[in-house]
Symmetry: C2
Subunit: 137 residues, 2 copies
């Protein structure tokens, strides 16, 4: 879809790209207030899990799981959070977020309070991405 | 686990029970501020998707999908939200929530602002549960 911002996000976020998987693209979230916050979005334009074929859905959920496990290995969080919302951008995109007891917001959801975006120097994005990629290799 | 509130939730919430599936229990959320807000939690005590065997995980995600599709059919929302958090109660439980443009909180996540719990008369819970069950049948 030409008017879907998620459909062209992979090309436009080259500095945040982690990996291309069979059914999804995986990028670091630009706002790293929550360290390791990662987005995984489908290659096809779909908006609900039940719009996907079962084999694609299962494979997609294996990709979500693999990425979550890699983030868990890199960041050693207290819990992983997995969210598929899409109220603003309906194209399926998973928010996969390592969560820590040490956070000011813990144990509430990441959306419970607004916060200032934490953008990183390009080198720090690169380092985070490389650590995640090594874990996914 | 004896100290996990989710491990005994099915027995203790008999007025909210929707259905028992192969790998999960499904209940209406007591707070119905978001109409149709449903919880789906695993029968086994597990805390992360990557702790489950692949076949169980895939089957579980089919159950999440089936319930989401039923809620979509009953409520005709603008979007379904699917969230697996567990920062307070780590036992895997999915928040499956129909979302509407007409809500005061739209398009923000359900956690973006606090709200007063909306508890229903027992009959209204029963009616909601029956509609969802019929769709699942």
């Amino acid at each position: 879809m030409t008017d879907c911002p998620m459909c062209c996000r992979w090309d436009e976020n080259s500095d945040l790209q982690i990996i291309e998987l069979q059914h999804s693209y995986v990028t670091l979230n630009r706002d790293q207030y929550f360290p390791g916050y990662t987005l995984l979005f489908t290659k096809c334009h779909a908006t609900e899990l039940f719009h996907l074929d079962q084999d694609v859905r299962s494979a997609l959920m294996e990709e979500v799981t693999t990425v979550a496990q890699a983030l868990y290995a890199v960041y050693a969080p207290d819990k992983m959070n997995y969210e598929l919302l899409g109220n603003m951008v309906p194209h399926i995109h998973w928010h996969i977020v390592p969560r820590f007891r040490s956070e000011p917001l813990w144990p509430r959801p990441i959306w419970a309070e607004p916060h200032d975006e934490l953008c990183l120097p390009v080198d720090e994005y690169r380092q985070r991405i490389e650590r995640i990629r090594r874990e996914l290799a």
